[in-house]
């Protein structure tokens, strides 16, 4: 008898466990599906929504800068491994040190990011406005003040726009949507400047010695044709800045 009860209890436990598993799975599926839906501005609040939306836009643009040597599309580049590597220092002649063709690289990248993201930033505000308007709010917006600054450890996005969201119950105003996007791009650009300055002056950069002093960076160089392809990698984040240099190229055999 006791043995029979024991088996029944065992079966019951199995059933309960199975039900729990099913419930958990269904719950997870529900949560995952829910997560797949776009987060609505009205769920988060305007400031958080813009921070997330603009943050993504800027992050994508920063990645583009890292990939293309600081430009949206490299103006002077060499094809290598299926990608266009933008030249930061270029000398067309043989045996001569290169010209630094992108001085003040931080400034250039900042303006490139602003140019690249201005439409995206505006889209973020449009999305926000549409959502609020769909929910019965009235949204008014002013002029946009937008700038990007590269700073150690992050990209500072200064974004100011007068937004007033009103409904019958009242109105609320927003102005400052500034945010910071964590990125090592500022530091990588500094290392890049060291490389370009050295390549333009000495046709060489002792990157192994540099890595000994600054182990947080991993610098790789591949010589392809008569150019040097540099990758400056931030070991912590894995982000890398890619660019090419053609300096003191040698002609074969002459």
């Amino acid at each position: 008898m006791g043995e029979k009860n024991g088996k029944r209890a065992q079966v019951t436990i199995f059933i309960i466990v199975a039900i729990m598993i099913v419930v958990v799975i269904l719950g997870l599926i529900y949560l995952m599906n829910r997560g797949g839906e776009a987060v609505r501005p009205s769920d988060l609040g305007p400031r958080d929504f813009i921070a997330g939306c603009v943050g993504d836009v800027v992050r994508d643009s920063v990645d583009k800068m890292l990939e293309n040597g600081g430009e949206i599309l490299p103006s002077q580049a060499i094809s290598y491994q299926g990608n266009e590597w933008g030249y930061l220092c270029y000398q067309a002649d043989f045996y001569q040190g290169c010209y630094n063709i992108h001085p003040m690289l931080e400034l250039q990248i900042e303006s490139e990011i602003e140019r690249d993201t201005s439409v995206g930033v505006q889209s973020c505000f449009n999305s926000m406005r549409e959502d609020f308007e769909n929910r019965g709010y009235d949204v008014k917006g002013g002029a946009t003040e937008y700038s990007v600054d590269l700073l150690p450890g992050y990209v500072k996005v200064s974004l100011k726009k007068d937004i007033e969201i009103s409904s019958e119950s009242g109105a609320k105003s927003f102005n400052d949507f500034s945010l910071e996007v964590v990125s090592p791009i500022y530091n990588l650009v500094r290392v890049t400047r060291e490389i370009v300055n050295s390549e333009s002056q000495f046709c060489y950069f002792e990157y192994n010695g540099y890595m000994l002093l600054y182990p947080e960076y991993d610098i790789r160089r591949v010589d392809y044709r008569d150019s040097k392809m540099y990758r400056v990698i931030d070991r912590r984040s894995g982000d890398e800045f890619k660019f090419a240099v053609r300096s003191c190229a040698f002609a074969p055999g002459i």
Partner: protein
């Protein structure tokens, strides 16, 4: 202890390496200011015209010209392909872009490099075009500006080596900038800055009750907390909420693994044995007192006291699958193992593909630098084609102790310069006039007070000048070669008269093996080793030949040594590739080829030699030069020739004696006597008494003498050897004597003497004379060719530590191709495996020549004149064929195997189009010399593809030459040595080349050939011209004080005795030898005094002023002596020569040598001192500055300031302009309010306000910061 020394040394080395090796490979740039500019344009303006301004490297390669040699090439600001500031042809330059024909971009104003900077952010970018700079720009390309000076920026517990401006930005970002806390320290080098971080005091910062942060004092101050230096946040006495944990982490800027408390603060270095030790969580324990102190603790599971230089650095244990006792981090071993050798972090070493140096680098090889970087071996290939070599040092001395540390670097291979040195003059003996001139110029220099202020200095200088100038020898090629980096003197000593020195690179450069663009250059370079050794022979006395000179050229040694010379130039001749596969492209004529056994020995060079590496060279250790350069190898004959016995003189002497004796006997052959008396006054030679005593025998002597002469002549006519002729002469003498002694013929026949004579004559006929012409032994050196086929291609893909390249791949086989280039998955493959199709030959269309045409035949074509007949002799005939696939083609005058064919048709590469030009001699010329020359000629052509498949059958090119009487005079087709001559030169060797064998004469008058007074030496023989363009005649032309016209005429068929049958030039070849009115001299070298700067380095312009001499002056400079000069960048056209140099502080001595196109040389030196002062200029030279004046040392200061009735008065130490600002000491000059210009200034002031004053001198130089901060009270 040793580890510490090593680690410390590594620090020094790594920092030093940033500069030292940079210096090795550095190429100095120079800026030049010139006239008209279009500086208002912007780069964008130009780029916008280029269709979006997008440029890929493929386009660059397709369009970019190889050199400036093309017609009209120059510097183009913006080319059609989007290149900025490159050398190209004018049509390749966009229409409204600045273009400077014949100029290098560095010497143009629109491509001048400068420094682009923003002093507020501390950003300084070097070598920037003015157009491209969005900020401030000055002419100093190396940014030697005060603001660019690096210092140590202390940001709490972190330090960064950067400019002051950058430090200000960083301080703001890290919240250190409030209240002016910008801790930027000068006088700290990069290594010390790194260690400074570790010395920053840190401690627990209790912000509010329970909350604690472990930070620096400065940071704590910014938090407003209470700072407990040296305490940890887990210290119980601080009553914080932070507790001990078993967690660890890596910390930015530090090597070790650190415990972390429950608040996330850093604790002490991870030590698994002390994880529960409460006292270890109280206060900071220095790393020297922590576990494993002094070691790297790489791969230690228990100790986190990592030291990156000693072998460990913090890393994630989980990512590396490392089992650590506590926490998640450990010290990753940063050392590396390679080939059984352990290397520390940062050590680098060279790896080679085979033997290196002494010209033994194999084709396709490359030098590799491997680096141990944080436990990973990284590859740094030195530039391909051996354009860089890997040098390695192992031992260094630090504080008197030897430290072993492998350190390698890829440096530029100087191989081109070594080969160029062979064009230097041979060892010239300094003339007395040159000695005098040398002494004068050097003595004058010794009087320079700045350089030699004391009498002792002057005396030393004078002694040195006297010693130098007394030397008989000028600096010779071998001296220069020995003193030049990466060069070696190769002594080619094959035979007694075939010996010379040549300057070769230690590490020969590689050639683009399959790129037709470089073939001409490669052929020219290799051609330096194409030499002819003339083996001189003479016939032996008793027949056969003996060697007079250069016999050893007939041995295998000739081919071996010449091939060593040949492959020492680069990828030339016979050599092995990186897998030891032999392939040769050379021709040896009249000497044994290279044996299989000798060739097999070369494969050893494809195996690296253990322990061999290229060392950093020291100029002072170069061996003294040895030997003499022989120039063009044309051995002279007779120098050691055995003095041949003059049988003719003996015969004449004997006969003379007989004639003299016979004179005493009036009965004997008076007719003979009287005839002989017409020649020799015999009675004056011997006394009459003597003649009378021997008179009876005189007739026999006369007969013997006549017989001897006749016998000799007959022997030579019959072609007998010296011995044979002598026997015949003796036989003749015997018969002659018998005749004279016998009254009748019958009696004579009965005398034994007669029959002895007959016997000697008969015997002499067995000793025929051998013809012994010289033997021309040739070695023709051609660019190396890869072995046919593609069996070894895959060998290039086998070693991941030696990635394949185009050069490497193509060296493995003519059929090898590199695919996926630039994808990262490069592979060397056989381009056409299983190829079974041979190349098919067709005539190349589009080729024509004046007065003739081509007629196609069944398997070939004919070259005919425009009437279908034979062509004129000595007419250049171009021939061209096309092959159905890339192939190499050869031809010969007989049907031969491909490898035995002598002449190449087209270049060395595998090509589609093959062309050559040749001319044919007049057949009658050869026939007149006994050669079987006919007017008909057939050339047989064969081609071979990359897989060794030969064209089917024989392709025949037929032609014929018009035969008949030669009525054409020779043409002078080339000359060498004409033009300018040196000031002290009294004669000049000039070479004339004619299209046919001829003799030439010269004169100062334009007269007929026969009237010309000076013969030239024309040593060539028919059918064997010594120059590619024809037959050579040399002459020594005397030079007077002024330039003269020289007239040369030639006459053909020198073998023709009847000059009326020969054809002479009706018009002279005229040239002029121009001599300068004075010798080149160096008038001034700048700088020559003290330069004051306040940066570590400064940019100076070395300026040399020359005068006299020829039209073009070229100046070189050196820091080490006259042995190894570097040509100044801006030189050649003007009389002022400029080289921009980046120099550090200290005493400097620069040697200068200038030469002109006449070959005259002037030398000088300058000494100056660069000292570090308080001020430095902000800009470089101003445009329009007086030539030769330096724009560097001007320093302006305020000597006095006082206030009077509301006005501030300034006195300056020189004229300048001053401005003030209220914003701070480093205000922008443009933003300042002008006070005025002059050396005494005044301006009204508001009381209580603080004025920051900057002044600029009259040259526009601006000190780095303000000169005064004043407040009017």
């Amino acid at each position: 202890m040793n580890r510490k020394i090593t680690a410390g040394f590594e620090m020094i080395l790594m920092i030093g390496m940033l500069f030292s090796f940079c210096y090795f490979v550095g190429f100095e740039e120079v800026s030049l200011v010139s006239g008209a500019e279009k500086e208002k344009m912007t780069i964008k303006d130009f780029l916008d015209k280029m269709g979006g301004g997008k440029l890929t490297e493929n386009q660059t390669w397709k369009n970019y010209p190889i050199s400036m040699n093309s017609e009209g090439a120059g510097c183009c600001f913006a080319s059609n392909e989007g290149q900025v500031c490159g050398t190209t042809s004018p049509e390749n330059c966009i229409s409204d872009s600045p273009f400077a024909e014949g100029a290098l971009c560095a010497a143009t104003s629109f491509c001048e490099k400068g420094c682009c900077y923003d002093d507020k952010s501390g950003t300084y970018d070097k070598n920037v075009l003015k157009f491209a700079c969005p900020a401030k720009w000055v002419k100093d390309p190396n940014c030697n500006l005060p603001g660019a000076r690096l210092g140590c920026c202390v940001l709490g517990s972190k330090t960064i080596f950067e400019t002051e401006g950058q430090c200000e930005v960083d301080s703001l970002v890290f919240a250190m900038g409030d209240d002016d806390i910008v801790d930027w320290r000068t006088g700290v080098d990069e290594g010390a800055c790194l260690f400074l971080a570790a010395e920053q005091k840190e401690g627990a910062c209790v912000i509010r009750e329970g909350e604690c942060k472990f930070v620096s004092e400065a940071e704590c101050f910014s938090y407003g907390g209470d700072f407990a230096e040296g305490s940890l946040c887990t210290n119980p006495s601080l009553n914080t909420s932070c507790k001990m944990t078993k967690q660890t982490k890596c910390v930015d800027g530090k090597d070790g693994v650190y415990f972390v408390d429950s608040c996330g603060n850093v604790g002490n270095i991870y030590d698994s044995s002390r994880v529960e030790d409460v006292s270890y969580w109280d206060s900071v324990v220095q790393y020297n007192d922590s576990c494993g102190a002094g070691e790297g603790n790489g791969d230690s599971p228990s100790c986190g006291n990592c030291n990156r230089f000693a072998g460990g650095i913090c890393a994630s244990a989980s990512e590396d699958n490392f089992k650590v006792e506590v926490g998640s981090f450990y010290c990753r071993d940063t050392s590396c193992m390679f080939d059984g050798v352990k290397y520390d972090n940062g050590e680098s070493w060279c790896v080679y593909d085979g033997a290196i140096g002494n010209g033994n680098d194999v084709v396709g090889s490359r030098h590799w630098k491997y680096v141990c970087s944080q436990g990973v071996v990284q590859i740094e290939p030195c530039a391909d084609y051996r354009n860089q070599i890997c040098v390695q040092s192992k031992e260094f001395e630090v504080d008197g102790k030897k430290v072993e540390f492998d350190n390698a670097a890829c440096i530029a291979n100087n191989w081109r310069e070594c080969i160029n040195l062979n064009s230097e003059d041979a060892d010239e003996v300094r003339t007395e006039a040159e000695k005098k001139a040398c002494t004068e110029s050097r003595t004058k220099l010794c009087g320079n007070y700045t350089l030699y202020p004391s009498n002792a200095d002057k005396i030393n200088c004078l002694n040195l000048a006297a010693s130098d100038c007394a030397s008989d020898k000028k600096v010779r090629m071998v001296d220069k070669c020995s003193a030049t980096l990466n060069c070696r003197v190769e002594k080619v000593a094959i035979a007694d008269k075939f010996t010379f020195d040549v300057c070769l690179p230690k590490y020969p450069g590689g050639f683009a093996l399959n790129d037709a663009r470089y073939q001409t250059t490669a052929e020219r370079l290799c051609g330096m080793a194409s030499q002819t050794c003339t083996v001189v022979r003479a016939s032996k006395k008793w027949g056969g030949c003996r060697y007079v000179a250069n016999q050893n050229c007939l041995s295998e040694t000739f081919g071996q040594e010449m091939n060593d010379f040949c492959r020492g130039l680069g990828d030339c001749g016979g050599s092995v590739n990186i897998v030891g596969e032999w392939s040769g492209n050379y021709i040896i004529r009249n000497s044994p080829g290279l044996s299989e056994s000798w060739i097999a020995k070369l494969s050893i060079f494809a195996t690296p030699v253990p322990g061999q590496f290229a060392e950093v060279e020291d100029y002072s250790e170069y061996l003294a030069a040895a030997g003499v350069w022989g120039g063009a190898v044309t051995p002279t004959v007779g120098g050691e020739e055995e003095k041949s016995f003059d049988f003719t003189s003996i015969g004449v002497g004997v006969a003379g004696l007989g004639l003299a004796i016979g004179a005493a006997n009036p009965d004997m052959k008076g007719a003979i006597f009287s005839m002989a008396r017409n020649f020799i006054p015999f009675d004056k030679i011997l006394p009459e008494s003597f003649i009378k005593v021997i008179g009876p025998y005189s007739g026999a002597m006369i007969g013997a003498g006549i017989g001897f002469v006749v016998g000799q002549m007959l022997g030579q006519y019959l072609g007998l050897s010296e011995g044979g002729s002598m026997l015949m002469g003796l036989g003749g003498a015997a018969i002659g004597a018998a005749y004279m002694l016998s009254p009748t013929m019958t009696v004579m026949l009965a005398t034994p003497l007669f029959w002895v004579g007959v016997a000697l004559i008969v015997i002499s006929l067995f000793f025929g004379r051998s013809k012994c012409p010289p033997i021309e032994v040739d070695f023709e050196c051609k660019p190396w060719q890869a072995p046919v086929g593609g069996n070894d291609c895959e060998e290039c893909n086998d070693d991941p530590l030696k990635p394949c390249s185009r050069y490497r791949c193509e060296s493995l086989g003519a059929g090898c191709e590199l695919i996926n280039e630039g994808s990262g998955d490069e592979l060397c493959v056989d381009g056409n495996p299983g190829d079974a199709t041979p190349p098919i030959i067709h005539r190349q269309t589009g080729i024509d020549f004046e007065g003739g045409d081509y007629e196609d035949g069944e398997n070939g074509f004919s070259i005919v004149n425009d009437r279908g007949g034979c062509v004129l002799a000595y007419t250049p005939l171009p021939i061209g064929i096309v092959t159905s696939e890339p192939a190499q083609c050869k031809f010969d005058v007989a049907v031969k195997d491909f490898d035995d064919m002598v002449f190449s048709l087209g270049g060395n590469s595998y090509l589609y189009n093959h062309t050559a030009v040749f001319n044919l001699p007049d057949p009658s010329h050869g026939q007149s010399q006994g050669s079987n020359w006919t007017g008909d000629l057939s050339l047989y052509v064969k081609c071979r593809d990359r897989y060794g498949l030969e064209s089917p059958g024989i392709y025949e090119i037929k032609t014929c030459v018009i035969e008949g009487e030669d009525v054409t005079a020779p043409k002078i087709v080339a000359s060498e040595g004409i033009g300018n001559v040196g000031f002290d030169v009294t004669s000049k060797d000039v070479m004339i080349v004619t299209n046919e064998l001829a003799t030439c004469k010269w004169d100062l008058r334009d007269v007929d050939y026969s009237e010309m007074g000076n013969d030239m030496v024309c040593g060539d023989s028919l059918g064997a011209p010594s120059n590619a363009l024809g037959y050579v005649c040399n002459g020594v032309f005397a030079i007077g004080n002024s330039s003269n016209n020289y007239y040369v005429r030639c006459m053909d068929q020198p073998w023709e005795n009847d000059t009326s049958k020969r054809n002479a030039n009706a018009q002279s070849f005229v040239f002029n030898l121009v001599k300068p009115s004075s010798k080149i001299s160096i008038d001034k070298i700048k700088p020559d005094n003290i330069i004051e700067i306040n940066t570590d380095f400064t940019t100076i312009d070395l300026k040399v002023a020359t005068s006299g001499g020829g039209v073009n002056h070229f100046c070189s400079y050196s820091f080490s002596g006259y042995g190894s000069m570097i040509e100044m960048f801006e030189t050649g056209d003007a009389r002022t020569h400029v080289q921009t140099l980046n120099v550090g502080t200290g005493a400097k001595k620069i040697y200068v040598e200038c030469s002109d196109e006449n070959g005259d040389v002037a030398r000088g030196l300058t000494e100056f001192r660069v000292v570090q002062g308080d001020f430095n200029v902000q800009g470089g030279e101003e445009e329009g500055e007086e030539e030769g004046e330096e724009g560097i040392s001007s320093i302006i200061t305020i000597t006095r300031i006082w206030e009077e009735q509301g006005r501030m008065n300034l006195l300056l130490n020189g004229a300048g302009e001053c401005r003030y600002s209220f914003t701070g000491c480093k205000f922008d000059w443009e933003d300042g309010v002008s006070i005025g210009e002059g050396d005494a200034l005044s301006f009204s002031v508001d009381y209580g306000k603080k004025y920051f004053i900057q002044c600029e001198d009259k040259y526009g130089n601006l000190p780095s910061r303000c000169l005064a901060e004043i407040v009017a009270i």
